[in-house]
Symmetry: C2
Subunit: 430 residues, 2 copies
């Protein structure tokens, strides 16, 4: 196969080794960044004048297929929302629905500049098919829940291993598989210990919800006499390969445990605010050197997958909650969304910055827009003024997935219709 | 002049007397809403299939020309931000800069679905010229600050009256003028009492910042021995014609005063969060029947004028601050942004809902987008998933200001360039 080359010229770069210059892509990688790139023999030249070039954003906690449940029910107490709306609908899930929902989420992510995500849900081989087609990069995990039932536990391990065998390191390496024990209150100790053992054996990462609500903390305290991170540490689950989503309610001792074990965190401000779960001590944890990244959670509790909106929410929430406008600066928020995201998913050497040798996961944002004028501090505009629709071009693994807002890898209009129909069918079964 | 008619057909309507139907506009007014409108003799037909039709949004507190200061400085303590960045730049303001900044803000508002706004700043006759050209509806006030200086006070009244004479009820009635005493801590008692007297005499509304920060409360307490709303009530300023912006720090007694006097409030969540000012007791005040509307504040502290984003922030902030996901529902938030906004500005009979006899201030939003799929509860999508860029068409006073995202009333690209240059010039004078 011939080498495929793309040159992005005249770029104003965020998250790169230089602030201005040209970036040369060969196949899936960035191979040169400077101003003196020879323009001959290049397959495709993109003029990035009046655009910001930055790393594709990394959404470290989501449930793609839940996009089918977007706007199903809002403004409700968590238990009513789950028991009366979300779970009854999820009972009708099947592989085709999850495929449709995942494709819909992939289109949304491509159109708002996310190139890598960390997903946990069901029928994940169907999700993998959608991700493969979309051209995005993702870590997929089957959500494991046993509620203490041994048969269920066996089935969950079987399904997780099936997913690893079928999908791990597939789609030119864009898809990897993690273990997805749902949480310390829905998984038995046996399941969690088993996950650690299998993760060590297979080398796969672990993706788990931890300390999302005060209710969860009380449940774990009641069952195990310890707070969630203390309990997970005691049974040996925690490690550098663990991505803990939400991490809202942590005691000072738990923050120390997270730091000591090198656990990575995914902060989900929109979901935490919408469900009134609480406010994660993000600034404090970043200050201690803990890797805190950013995630949207599923579209049912957000209700979109727009990481630019999530950045603004993250920064504003830390400032108001701590009554300090210097908390979570634009620079810190940007890092959470790029390099911290990469680090959180064990991909620090491959993505998260624009550097020679890294994967060509890049996005371009239009800056000639009234809400981004005057254009003076790109980072400020990115975090506080921009929105997903400002993303003009999305490149993942060296492939152009969207150019000038047109999605190239998958058929947007067809997917919207397919998802609308799937959601209608699910609702009719209720 | 011949009558100009526009028919919007196949609309899914929010904030109207019916949920579906056709809306007929003649000149500046809605004259019919039903399914049996005779399609002949209509100048322009807009097919609203797959679109939401709703009232143009009402931004009840902003400083248009501050769009030139967007992204100038962020993540700073309020006094550093004001003293070292905002005020030094404002010292270089002139009419031309304020015109450029106001035009920029008008383009941004047209493109994100705001048709009416309440503005306070300087060089307001230049702002009026921009608003006139843009086709938007606005209440303009000269920001009055005397800091106890009698000469300054006289000048402020002179300027306010000049603005009234020159601009009140201009631009086919789209522009009115209010008195804009800046705040109880920057205006003397004499100025505030004078404003009440003049407002009664001229019949103009009053636009004032009140209780934005705890520091302000302490200042007013120190100077007058009362909290801001208590003090303003004591000197007789409060009334149904007063729009108090921010209203963050209110004692229970002050909430009762606001209710009793019929004062209207503008809640500004993005600005209050970004500057860490505090959280307004919005839900509590709405419950008491107080008219709370929504505003973006200026772009320097937001940093955009996107009312769709502001709605999501408002709802999410009330939920997390009160730790109750049922707080500020999508319906309540929508009302804050439409009918409450109209009521707050004394325009309840003219705008804020889609009703026969009201002004034709309407917007259409595209719903065929991945982040708005599946399309089931329009209100939920509007508040929790949509963004300003989903607005497709903006109509104000019966004129189409934007159609299919193309701004028709003013030249977008030229304005972006003019604003960029004006901001550059101002910065170079620093």
């Amino acid at each position: 196969m011939e080498n495929q080359t793309i040159l992005i010229k005249n770029a104003q770069i965020l998250g790169g080794t230089v602030n201005n210059g040209s970036v040369l892509i060969e196949n899936d990688k960035i191979i040169e960044i400077n101003d003196k790139i020879d323009f001959s023999h290049i397959d495709k030249v993109i003029d990035a004048e009046n655009k910001i070039l930055m790393p594709g954003m990394v959404n470290t906690h989501t449930h793609l297929s839940m996009s089918l449940l977007r706007g199903l029910a809002d403004d409700l107490p968590l238990d009513t929302w789950l028991n009366e709306h979300i779970w009854p609908m999820e009972a009708h899930l099947n592989g085709d629905y999850c495929y449709a929902g995942a494709l819909l989420a992939c289109v949304e992510m491509i159109k708002s500049g996310t190139t890598t995500f960390n997903d946990m849900y069901f029928f994940m081989d169907y999700v993998a098919r959608a991700v493969d087609e979309s051209g995005l990069r993702g870590i997929l995990s089957h959500g494991m829940i046993d509620l203490g039932d041994e048969e269920k536990r066996k089935a969950e391990f079987k399904e997780s291993k099936r997913l690893i065998e079928k999908c791990h390191d597939s789609a030119e390496g864009r898809i990897t598989v993690a273990f997805g024990p749902h949480s310390p209150y829905t998984c038995s100790k046996e399941l969690l210990k088993g996950v650690r053992k299998e993760a060590n054996k297979y080398g796969n990462h672990i993706h788990i919800h931890v300390a999302e609500t005060e209710y969860e903390v009380q449940q774990v305290m009641g069952a195990h006499g310890k707070r969630p991170f203390e309990y997970l540490d005691e049974i040996g689950l925690l490690g550098e390969d663990v991505l803990a989503a939400h991490a809202v309610h942590l005691s000072p001792a738990e923050i120390e445990i997270v730091k000591k074990r090198g656990v990575k965190l995914s902060h989900n401000p929109a979901s935490n605010m919408k469900l009134a779960s609480g406010v994660s001590p993000v600034q404090e944890m970043l200050k201690k050197g803990i890797c805190v990244s950013l995630g949207t959670d599923g579209a049912a509790s957000n209700n979109n997958l727009d990481m630019l909106e999530e950045m603004k929410l993250a920064a504003l929430l830390q400032k108001i909650h701590n009554m300090d406008p210097t908390y979570l600066t634009a620079q810190q928020t940007f890092e959470m969304t790029t390099i911290n995201g990469a680090h959180a998913l064990g991909m620090k050497t491959d993505i998260g910055t624009i550097e020679v040798g890294k994967k060509a996961d890049l996005i371009l944002l239009d800056t000639k827009a009234p809400h981004l004028t005057p254009f003076r501090h790109p980072l400020s505009h990115l975090v506080y003024s921009a929105r997903g629709s400002d993303v003009n071009t999305t490149i993942c693994n060296g492939n152009i997935l969207m150019e000038n807002r047109e999605v190239l890898s998958i058929p947007e209009a067809q997917i919207i219709e397919m998802a609308q129909n799937a959601a209608g069918e699910m609702l009719s079964k209720n």
